[in-house]
Subunit: 219 residues, 2 copies
Amino acid sequence: MAVSERTSKLPTHEVVYRRIREMVLFGELAPGQPVTIQGLVGDLGAGMTPVREAIRRLTAEGALEFQGNRRVCVPVLTLSQLDELSFARQSIEPRLAHLAAQRATPEDIAHLEAVDEALNRAIERGDVRGYLQHNHRFHEDLYALAQARILASLAGMLLLRVGPSLRVVCGRFGTYGLPDRHRDALDAMRAGDADGVARAIGEDLQQGIDQIRQSLLAG
Amino acid sequence: MAVSERTSKLPTHEVVYRRIREMVLFGELAPGQPVTIQGLVGDLGAGMTPVREAIRRLTAEGALEFQGNRRVCVPVLTLSQLDELSFARQSIEPRLAHLAAQRATPEDIAHLEAVDEALNRAIERGDVRGYLQHNHRFHEDLYALAQARILASLAGMLLLRVGPSLRVVCGRFGTYGLPDRHRDALDAMRAGDADGVARAIGEDLQQGIDQIRQSLLAG
DNA sequence: CAGCGGAATATTTGATCATATCCTGCCCGT
DNA sequence: ACGGGCAGGATATGATCAAATATTCCGCTG
């Protein structure tokens, strides 16, 4: 019991890690919010050790941040950090998309289209959480096709760093139209146009970054 | 005692982390070598909890790798992973070098020149460990000047992933002439030529990558 | 007499450890 | 070759210690 779904053989620290990761990614933890070990121990019903390990891992990935005095919180992005993230994502993710496009089978594409479908429905429904989940899923699954574990893990870390801010943006502006470059990417993918896929993904993530930038500037 | 230098206020898990990190970086742990918690507990004289946390952190950074069945080892690079690393480093590090060049003061440059001096002496001495240490130091200190924490942390992770293999290469071929693009970088830096610095660093790390590739191909 | 500053204390949270439990892989007997 | 024990090592817990923050209380000043 506790830690709810103990999905059989997964170790506790892994379960806890994923749980907290989702909390960061989908906005259950807001930027700036302090994260205490004992709080999580209480909320997740796990022991200290697994929680500790999960936090260390997430800290290494940049999803959480050491606040000097051995306290941990969700990082707040500055404009210059956003520039760094923009540069890094533009460097890595289009390449991953390119590789993925070269390897994608029709079934893979169909799967991604299904995810994108669900994403659009979430937007229409005004379901922020669903939007974030499916958007993340889309990129994650796309990059998984590239069979480039190192680059994919880098992309995952970058996603993790934008997550909380994206959530804030959506909370502020709702899920209104991101024109959805995913469609462009999928069309290019079907056409075997890897460069086009890379370009579409680049534009897609640029939109996200720009929205966050707007939000930061508006303060 | 134990954990040797307990540099006063640093928590044990931090000390342990740095220690293991160095072991990975400078070849005390070879690629493929299994890493056991209890082994490290014995070697470093620390408790299990700090060691566990350090390992989780290093695993997240790609310095160590889960071997499925809850065993951990130093990762062995494949050719395709080396390509990923090459791409990622070429994307990130020249940019960091460029930023660093724009911000560097004469004192900063002097410091880097001193490190490069020490590096060259280590090469002449045939001191592999010293070479690796100063080379790492050079890049680390250079990137620190860029004041771009996120990009620098990415670069650090990439460095960690090449570390063990670089060590193997040096062990095999000795410290014979890497023509030292550092000199070029430093000259460009003094001249205020940020693009030149970026180019030199790009060539520098490409040389390292190529050497590892040679080594992998030679088997 | 009211408000303020600061020292001492209380409480909250993090760090570490020793220990108990559980897996995994290996070795042996059949 | 198959299956069951055995040993080594990983995981997880709770207790204990230490540190940092919040709180309280007292004496002082305006």
